[in-house]
Symmetry: D2
Subunit: 331 residues, 4 copies
């Protein structure tokens, strides 16, 4: 291994699904020296049997003072209400913060108050943490609001097409997600017997990720998420009307140009991607079909919600923020 | 039990998923006397361990002469190329035929040649077998082309709304289906390890059920099916633009009126249905949401593809065709 | 339908998985008139969307007085601590009680105190509710402790073999169960993401169903249950040493004789059963293999834990207790 | 990265489940230079969308001459009948061969003829490829018969206990496996709808992995595998009788000593392992419980069948054979 100058990092919320994925990958990351791995409350202290030989220490109770004084970077994998409080507090005391909750993603105060009522103005600059779109800003960003799982799979294909004026407003995003995206807290909704053999739409017209997508894409979208019986992965089927005369080639040229230097975006053209191809990776796979020039565009976009939609995204942002190779620790 | 005068029935294709579901239900149906249970080729003869004590005899090889001479009604659960041949031949020799393949569903010869190139004009009158829409025609129909699984879940909610002019053309149907809908023949596509933990769109702009839906609904639709890791069940999320001024109440009134006498359509209003609620039943559950009058309508519609989408549908048609109670044998 | 003289029944705990299965089947049972469907606490009142058109009334809060005064039979699908209290109280006030908890299954007071410490002596006669073994006792039994799910799949094959002295003590039962057996209360253990893609042994040397099996079988057993990623169904692989000279034929003769009059036990011989064959049915399928006379016997036994292991079992007991055909309402 | 002197490797059978896992890991292995990735027949040439950006070249048709002349090491992930032919042929022409089929695992000619009738004596020395047991032999081995998936999870816990004479003969191994172990060729057995919601025992008294386990463990075992509805992973529940006086501490001491220097064996003591903890890793997790000294020992052992049971195992053997760190490329 090369000798990387290692960044001292801490993880808060390491017992959740995203937090455990973060800890597993950071513990093996050549540029990270994990100093602290904590839970999301002051009472927690447990071991993670899946991480034996990778992270053998117990997961400590949350201790903000130690995070502030003993690390250069903190990854927050805690509920958004806790992130809203911890994020700015940590930044003011030193570490750069990579937050994977939604607390800081919405720039409009009105939208934030609607969808995250416990998230006041953070008082420090916030960068939206989707590496492919904000590489330059990440270099110096103190507080990174890592992009949400559903938004990542929608923004990556849609944003370049909107900027190039290839599609009409009024996009429909039909999203299917694995259950780990709902978090580890047991609820009736996430009981195995409720999910197995079933599918359900939820949050119709009322999911806060719709607002996040609209903020980054810049046009109105209809966003309907569904819970589907698998653990990891999101597939989004996106329906858009092309502007007159626009054809499949124009879509391909625009997306190819947009992601020429992005190692984690894989364009699959008319061969549509499947969740199986991206599970346990940081890739976002994007394919598309067009029925006729100026007609209907159908995009299929896939990610692993715990990697490119959470832990991998945060590490990718971390890599760019600290000058590492963008792919470091994410192979 | 009442003494029903029993109809002599035969089942062809009883070893497939739909055929086995048919045989299980017909064997316990008070109005059916199952005389013949056959496979879909001349070489097949096997027992079905799941049906022990329900249907103990072996599944015989296919014998058209016996079907023609020993039954009053034949259920065809065979490939559409075989149905295209058997259906008219049987009708001309006596039995009424309930076909669950797609061979006879498309009335337009052009459409039929495109999607079912091996289905010539049947030469006998064909009735589209969606009980809720064709009750009267079923009473005397000789050849019933039972509605397809995807079409059933789309036509039932859409057709009344189109007739009442409540929605605009250009409907999008995002369909998610369990794997039994792909049939029992093993392929790489249906291998457990390809489906488990994954989702995939398929047949984009090229699935023949799109033509069937358009025939019955009367407007253009974009139809995209997805394979999802469950065995039975279809959930369709349907996106439509309301005509100006139309609101959720108008949708409810229209659907309520349309299905007042239909025991197997359950309207769930703004509580959206889930596959879990309809699995192993003949119900079609339909719920909907509207963002604002004249705005976006989202319908969620669920069926069990092997029951209301295949075997149950055929039996419901049979019940009406022979004057039984519509629900007989389907509780 | 024949006119059965209907028994007035009540269900307590109708919102759980077993309770909902009970209510669905009793609502369509020709000999049962469901008067009351209640939850398992005094605060519950909800509707069950899956049962729309089958049971449309809300599930009321628990009301013991009404159960006692308005029914002839009460089905208890509540936690064993609550059953321990309700069971004898109801019996003393009139109704016969079919309890599907474990509260009354263990006859030995010492064993009961060890495994069900909140279950005092019931003070009324208790009959173990495994129809195949206690048909005669059921005819007049006031309080029926329906057999547990794991025990049912073990006792049915083992008990006749022990009585006939065909196998040696020291039987090993490796049981695999779907998750609905763990009940509907959400826990980390039953979270979809913990179960999907995993298997785990639990309760090794400490599962109370081991004691129940030993009580009915009469020999020592080692019982290890596993949680497996499916919703419904139990498969038990049972390892026993044959007594000297005993061969596969002796096993077959003994089991065939034992279950000649039992419609729900299906012996499959050397073709081993699978959960798929019994799901959603009241069957117990039993197959076996022997390596050589006097050698190793391997039995595979399958049930649907919510039907033959819970709701179906209770209804089968009810049928015999009230003189109905044993299969009524269970087809 | 350090500069490793890279070994030129080839993979045959790269389109199967094990082969694809091999190729993915070797393409990112610092000590391997993948020169050739081939299918398992002469007609195959396809791309693997899941490996885009990792292995972009097409998978060529099988070409033995190129494997022999252009590589130092060949990984065979092909059917055992093909391995039986290719293995010795390649070794004689130069490369060292890591075979993950069963063709060469059984040393006894009689056993090999029974279970692998198309595998003649290889004519070159064969080393059984379970790194933990054969580290020394691997250093110079020309032909490595990588241990089977089921045997790996059984041999690792049992072999040291037998050597130390802690357990009695007559061990029972109840194994549960994900479906990827059955290979990628579609069959009725591996159809999604046959596996989902079901469990089935198979190969009772007739699975060739039983012979392989007995060879390495040295005592008679009863081995019963089951197919379970998950993609990857094996869990084995092993039942053994302790020798008089042996207790849990003796088990722990023996296993701890046996695996002190083995990075991929994790002993979990009385906390039993779960498949979830080892999925996508090269770990074998082993836990155990004892009811009383001299009594029943229950071991639970887990691996990912495609990693420690196939591709990871082969790479671990390769690492030791070529003098790399045992964990290289397996983190």
């Amino acid at each position: 291994m090369n000798t990387y100058s290692k960044i001292r990092v801490g993880v808060a919320g390491a017992t959740g699904y995203s937090g455990m994925e973060l800890l597993r990958r950071l513990a093996q990351h050549p540029g990270a020296d994990v100093r602290l791995a904590m839970g999301s409350s002051s009472s927690e202290s447990k071991r993670l049997p899946a991480l034996k030989r990778i992270w053998d220490a117990p997961i400590d109770r949350l201790d903000v003072d130690r995070l502030a004084s003993e690390t250069d970077a903190v990854f927050l994998a805690v509920p958004d209400t806790l992130s809203a409080e911890l994020g700015p507090a940590l930044v003011q005391r030193g570490p750069r913060v990579f937050d994977i909750s939604g607390a800081f993603r919405l720039r409009s105060q009105a939208e934030r108050q609607r969808w995250y009522p416990h998230s006041p103005d953070p008082g420090v600059p916030v960068t939206y943490g989707l590496t492919e779109r904000y590489r330059r800003e990440l270099a110096t960003a103190p507080l990174i609001a890592c992009a949400g799982c559903y938004p990542t799979a929608a923004i990556l294909p849609l944003q370049p097409l909107v900027v190039a004026n290839l599609i009409q407003p009024g996009v429909i995003i039909d999203a299917k997600s694995g259950v780990s995206g709902a978090g580890k807290t047991p609820t009736e909704r996430t009981h195995f017997s409720e999910i197995h053999g079933s599918i359900a739409a939820y949050g119709v017209f009322s999911h806060r990720h719709g607002a996040e997508i609209q903020q980054e894409v810049g046009i109105e979208v209809t966003f309907v998420p569904h819970l589907v019986p698998l653990d990891r992965g999101i597939l989004e089927t996106i329906y858009a009307r092309l502007q007159p005369g626009v054809d499949a080639d124009a879509i391909e040229r625009t997306l190819t140009a947009a992601y020429a230097g992005s190692p984690f975006v894989r364009l699959t053209g008319s061969e549509l991607p499947e969740i199986k191809h991206v599970a346990h990776t940081n890739f976002c796979d994007i394919g598309w079909r067009v029925d006729r020039p100026g007609g209907q565009l159908i995009i299929v976009s896939c990610i692993d919600n715990l990697v490119k939609g959470a832990a991998g995204q945060a590490i990718q942002n971390f890599n760019v923020a600290f000058g590492f190779d963008e792919e470091l620790g994410l192979a």
